[in-house]
Symmetry: C2
Subunit: 270 residues, 2 copies
């Protein structure tokens, strides 16, 4: 295998996934993954540019950052690229007024968005909010539009909580796509536009950046499609079969964020 | 356009969809569509063979027939081809023990099926039963199986109730297909096997049969793929855009079942 020095050559910027890399979500707010608090601190003390790039859409950035800070992480809102604010920008640019099928925890991100007389639907990981009644309402709104627009915050298949695997927004996005005969616009990973906006925030080119995530498709495959390199951590939703994925091969597999940061600091911070 | 006499030549058997053709479901059991009670009676008095072919899977056949009889229809259980009994036959033949994600109204059809230690999932139009919790449970059962089998009673996108369009089982089938990376086996229209079982029951060949339905894909497209002819009624879930559907063209469009039966009796019952 190619030596790490070669695989990491020229990396100036690092995008970090949050859930499954920094911490595992779950009851009581979740728990930091061993070594990740220190790893983030060391990374931020290095010459590498760092940006957090998450598909979290059950919480507002404020809530997410508050939770992470309580777990000991050095992180602020301005360092986080997340789907809800990106979606709000799109909604404003295009004069779209959404019907929101989202989790209550993220609703505050849409506070200054006009939601009267909706001309599109925004779907996010609503968790228990994915009731038949709520799904049917979103469906009816789309069916009444001449040009139905469906915006999905991510398209994950599932994620892992302490209690087991949980259906993610992608499944419900597919349900609405099929019922309405539309194709959703995905805001969040693996959308190239989303990765690019995270890179713009730290002024790093894709070929000089590396993504670190636990999702072989959304993080690793998405970043590579965008011209970045990507490492997969063996934490969060990682499954051993990911290392033999038929379509996506990471630029490296590491046990956790701490190992990734060791390698980055050893081979890039010269 | 080809004259009706030509389009209907050689028809010996008629398959009738129920919801949206005979009646509109909804609060209080629903309401017969104007002229349909008499149309069914006239059809059954003719020389044409008649079979009801429905994807109804919120109710047992007994319940459905009881409701239709109260609305005035001449119909008995033995005349109805429906997905739940067809699925039970498949489950028994293949030794499958289902986890059931179905409506309580149809549960009695599965009374003699072993549902312990499930090795497959059966999904049907569960209506309000499509909660996040129930969907997640079905998802988790599939993810734990080495060879996940998902059987879906129909794959309709939506149906119409008095209160508006309602999401059908197909949307939720797609959600599970995407989340689990499986392809569902569909029992019900538009599965050719399902149409064929309805035709076998009245001993009519596909080229001598015509389907009458309100669903351009499930009824019309499905029947035509099976070698039958098909009329679409402008009742139930019919939408004007169906008459310009990019893929499916019915052998005729009629205002309602009464008009379809007028034409059939005029041009075939000689």
């Amino acid at each position: 295998m190619t030596p790490w020095a070669e695989r990491l050559a020229g990396v100036h910027g690092v995008l970090l996934d949050i859930s499954g890399v920094l911490y595992d979500s779950g009851a009581g707010g979740g728990a930091a993954i061993a070594g990740s608090v220190e790893a983030v601190a060391r990374l931020k003390q290095s010459r590498l540019k760092v940006r957090f790039c998450t598909n979290e859409s059950q919480k507002s950035r404020g809530e997410l950052v508050g939770l992470l800070r309580r777990l000991g992480f050095d992180i602020s809102e301005g360092e986080v690229t997340a789907p809800a604010p990106a979606a709000c920008q799109i909604l404003k640019e295009r004069g779209l007024r959404p019907h929101l099928l989202i989790h209550d925890g993220v609703r505050s991100e849409f506070n200054d968005i006009d939601i009267s007389n909706p001309n599109c639907v925004v779907i996010a990981d609503a968790g228990e909010g994915f009731s038949y009644q709520n799904m049917n309402k979103a469906f009816q709104v789309l069916m009444e539009l001449e040009n139905p627009v469906l915006i999905s915050l991510g398209k994950g298949r599932y994620y892992k909580e302490a209690s087991g695997l949980m259906l993610d927004v992608g499944a419900y996005m597919k349900a609405l796509e099929y019922a309405c005969g539309v194709e959703a616009e995905v805001v969040g990973k693996p959308s190239p536009e989303f990765f690019k906006s995270a890179l713009r925030a730290i002024r790093v080119e894709a070929h000089q950046a590396i993504m670190i995530g636990d999702d072989i498709m959304g993080d690793v495959g998405g970043a590579q499609q965008c011209g970045m390199r990507a490492l997969q951590v063996r934490t969060g939703k990682f499954r051993p079969s990911d290392e033999h994925h038929p379509e996506v091969k990471a630029d490296g597999y590491v046990d956790n964020l701490a190992e990734a940061v060791d390698l980055l600091l050893q081979h890039t911070d010269k």
